[in-house]
Structures are given as structure tokens and as C-alpha cells.
């Protein structure tokens, strides 16, 4: 820092705006807000998760990890399993469906059209998530679009609304654009000369794909999968609206513990902590084993 600037600062501002105040003005408001509505609440649900069966207003002393053990009892373990099943399957589906699209946009569409095509693909993302699920109800219900078409060509109707396949369709639909965006970002950076070099050296297109393209896209695949997995674990709308009574998930179970007929805030808090733990583990694995290029 040059000397004139120092005297300048000293001369004009110190009286009205002390230097130590500046970082405080910038960081304190958000810091206080986040502490009050993010940090303290999370600590509070951790405390509450150690409390047995609480209803609003009730005061009960912590009595241990019973609520956590309850998650692993035969009545609730399938719920956790189903959440993981939905998340892992949707992640795999998004990867399977999203990769060719991202590949096409990044490597086969001319550069000047890429932004527009990508924009077109992610546009439905900006519509209300409830209404997107609602649209799938219209499509999948017994008298809906798909079954009317099937009926017209004489195929027996598909009864998938309020079942697990409908949830998978809804989740995959909701998260496919995110997957494509992230995969595109990593494929777009792919050096095409590497593919040419591979071809010159006698590699078949398949070999070039597995030995050049996939390793380059690895960080994108990891980041995209992580994002889809996390979003599916916390998804409430799709299982609730498309899954029917048979598709109870952790997010729905948490909702019921707080806003449902049988409230149990202690158990709901434990489930919530469990959800946060699963998400944290997924992120930790990504940070530990994932490529560093997409971090921070």
C-alpha cells in the first residue's frame, strides 16, 4: 500500500468511520442472522432429539439416544432404506439420462448455440416444484395422459401413480437439469485435441470415451451425483404427492412428526439430525475423494 493512500484514509475517514468498524458492519448482520436462525436452531434440534416424545409446550428432560435407536427399529428402518433407495436410484437415472445430453451439448452442438440449448433444457427448473409434481399426477393417474394413450392402442393401463416408480420419475425429472448443468460444465472444459490424439494413436471411439472423456468428466460426475443425492434425500414434495401412502420417506416422516396428526418433536428432531448426518457424510466423502477442481 502506498503512503499517500494511508494519509488519505487517515485524513478523511477515521473520525467518522473507524477502520475496525468496517468488517463488523459487513459481516455482523449476516453473522447474527445466521447464528440466530441457522446455528442455534440446529443446536436446539440436537438437544430436542435427545428428549422422548415431546409435544409443543411440554418440558421433558433429556433421556438419551432412544430417539436415534428408534430410527433403526423394524418399523422405521424401511423408511430410511426407502429414502436411500429413492436417492441412489434417482442419482443413477439422472446420470444415465443426463450424460448423453450434456455430452451432446458440450461436444456436438456448435459453441455459439450451447448456452441457448442449455438454457432451454434447464428452463423447466424454474417452475414451481409443486406444480411440476402436480403435472406428473395429471400424466400418470389412471385416467391420465399415459393411460389414455395406452388404452387407445390396446395396452393394459400402467398403475404407477401412488407407487414407487412415480416418485422416481418425479425426482429424476426435478433433478435432471441440475445434473446436465454440472456435467456440461466439466465436459465443456474437455480438451478435444486429447480425443483426436487418442484417435491418432489408434484408440477406438469407445476406448477414447472410457480412457479420455470419462476421466475428464469425473469431477462433474461426482459433483452432480452428490447434488442430486442430497436433494433427493431431502425431497418432500415428490414422495408426498406422487408416492401415496406406501412411499414413506425420511422427509415425509419428519414432516409428520411436526405437522402431522401424531406429533413427536423429539423423534422428528432425531430424524432431522440423521438427515443432516447423511448429507454431511456424502459431502465429506466428496471432499475427501472427489476432484478438487470443483471445490470452493
Amino acid at each position: 500500500m502506498s503512503n499517500p493512500s494511508l494519509t488519505n484514509r487517515a485524513g478523511t475517514k477515521v473520525a467518522t468511520f473507524p477502520k475496525w468498524l468496517e468488517p463488523l458492519v459487513m459481516l455482523a448482520p449476516a453473522g447474527i442472522w445466521l447464528s440466530l436462525l441457522m446455528v442455534i436452531p440446529t443446536l436446539l434440534i440436537f438437544q430436542l432429539s435427545l428428549v422422548p416424545g415431546i409435544r409443543p409446550g411440554q418440558v421433558v428432560n433429556p433421556s438419551g439416544l432412544d430417539n436415534y435407536f428408534k430410527i433403526f427399529q423394524p418399523g422405521y428402518l424401511p423408511v430410511l432404506g426407502r429414502s436411500l433407495f429413492f436417492s441412489i436410484s434417482s442419482t443413477a437415472l439422472c446420470l444415465l439420462l443426463g450424460f448423453p445430453v450434456a455430452y451432446w451439448i458440450a461436444l456436438m452442438v456448435p459453441k455459439r448455440w450451447q448456452n441457448l440449448v442449455l438454457l432451454g433444457f434447464v428452463l423447466p427448473l424454474w417452475t414451481s416444484s409443486l406444480l411440476r409434481s402436480y403435472a406428473w399426477i395429471t400424466i400418470l393417474r389412471p385416467t391420465g395422459v399415459i393411460n389414455s394413450l395406452l388404452k387407445a392402442i390396446g395396452i393394459p393401463p400402467l398403475d404407477i401413480l401412488n407407487r414407487e416408480p412415480a416418485v422416481l420419475i418425479g425426482m429424476t425429472y426435478s433433478l435432471l437439469p441440475y445434473m446436465v448443468l454440472i456435467l456440461y460444465a466439466s465436459l465443456e472444459k474437455l480438451d478435444r485435441r486429447l480425443l483426436e490424439a487418442a484417435a491418432d494413436l489408434g484408440a477406438t471411439p469407445q476406448q477414447a470415451f472410457w480412457k479420455v472423456t470419462i476421466p475428464q468428466a469425473k469431477s462433474g460426475i461426482a459433483a452432480g451425483s452428490l447434488l442430486v443425492f442430497i436433494a433427493c434425500m431431502g425431497d418432500f414434495v415428490n414422495p408426498e404427492l406422487l408416492g401415496g401412502a406406501s412411499s414413506m420417506t425420511v422427509a415425509r416422516l419428519i414432516y409428520n412428526q411436526f405437522l402431522g396428526a401424531t406429533q413427536n418433536w423429539g423423534f422428528g428432531s432425531a430424524l432431522s439430525m440423521m438427515l443432516i448426518l447423511i448429507v454431511s457424510v456424502a459431502i465429506a466423502l466428496q471432499v475427501r475423494y472427489g476432484d478438487s477442481s470443483l471445490r470452493g
Binding site: P4, L131, I139, M233, S269
Partner: protein, 276 residues
Amino acid sequence: MVHHKPKSRLPFSWQAAFSVLMFGFMYLPIAVLAFYSFNQSPYSAGWKGFTWEWYIKFFNDNRILAALATSLQVAVLAVAVSAVIGTLMAVGLARYRFPGKGIYQGVAYLPLIVPDIAMAVSTLVFLAAIAIPLSGGAIQLSLWTVVAAHVVFCLSYIAWVVSTRLTDLNPHLEEAALDLGATQVQAFVQVLLPELAPAILSGCLLAFVLSLDDFLIASFTAGGGVTTLPMEIFSRIRTGVKPDINALSVVLIGATGIVFSIAEYIRFRSERKRTR
């Protein structure tokens, strides 16, 4: 559907065919909603004639319109607060080193990854915990508690968008302004803010759309008194197909489409300006 196929340069490939199929998948639900919003018979899948009935019904539905007004109020208030404190936070984090910065930064971007349901639950528990001693048992949930909860994630998204712009900003701009005799406040308002404006605006639009779309956090923090639009939609569609919801969908999709296009245009233009 935005899909451009320049001739000759784009030979047919299975990737292209598959992508077109996936475009169809992405737009199918929207097309279906639009189709039924003009269909006379709400319950049959076939076309039974054109009607404006559902749109008229929607625009005369006071409950939906009140919910829409509530949602807009929440989104505007939350985004306004978040724009100020989120931008300040992003600039502060880019500018200063201090003990505990790592933790601060971690917490600041936590709302981007913590599932909505977990945030909703913890906010409700927190509000219950402070309301019980303060007001003798009654949880004072209102529009303001929804706004306060929305600020948490809005501020993270805005700060995130702003910080990506900050990283490739010339750090000497402000120094130059200070050297030329500007006060710190002047340098911030007249030099830094104009540079950040496109990022702040697109962050705000993103936060605005997310706030309008939020169902979980609003239903946990709204209490009985206020109903936001997603809460109203949810309570209607969980019991089955409602034809006037189709009309609402088309109106909302159109509106968010416009907001999104503006946001993308601003981002695109500012990026152009930067790379030029």
C-alpha cells in the same frame, strides 16, 4: 422449445436423438398443464373443446390471489433484506481475514446444502423455544417469521452469486478510488456496487424464485394465520386434480419464465462485457 439445429455442422447421432427425447421429457409436464388449462372437460384426458373458464375461475379465486399476494410480500421483503446483508457478507468475506473465518464461511453457505425439511424443522423448534418464554406458550408465527426464515437461504444464494463475481473483479479499483480521495463509503457505493450490480440482481432473482417456490419452510414457520401460495396449492392438489390449478400453473410458469429470462439476460450481458 429452444432447440437449434444448424444444418450440415450437426450430423445425426444417437446423442442428438436422445437429447431431443429428453427435451420432450422436460417439457411434457408443462405442455400437459397448458393443454388441460384450455380444455373444457377437466377430468377426461381427451380434448373436449377450448375454454377460458379455468383462467376466469382462477382470477376470481380470492383465496389463491390472497395467497399469491402473501407470497410476493414474503419474497420481496426477504430478498430486500438478503440483498443488503448478503452482499455485505460476500464483500466482507472476500476482503478480510479473521480468526474463525472458515467456520463463518461454512455456516454462511450451509443453507445451500442443508435439506429444506431440516431447516424448516429447526426454525420451527427455535421459534417455539423463544416464543414460549416470551409470550407464555402461544407460538407467534406470522408473515414475519416466514420472512426471517426465508432470509436465511436467500442471503446464502445472493452471497454465493456475488462472491463468484467478486473473485474475478479487479481488486485495485477500490484502492484507486481511495487514492483519489474517495471515502470508504463512497468507494463502496460508487465503485464496487456498480461493478457488482448485475451479480446482485441475478442473485436476487434467483432468491426471489426460490422464496416463491418454498413450501416446506413456509408451512413450518407460517402458523395458522398466513398462507403462502405453495401452501395453498399443496392443500388443493393433495386431494386430486383441480382444473383451475392448471390455469394457475400456466400463469405462474409464464411469469417465472419471464423472470428467469431477465435474470439470464442480465448475467449473459455482464459476462459478455467482462470477457470483451
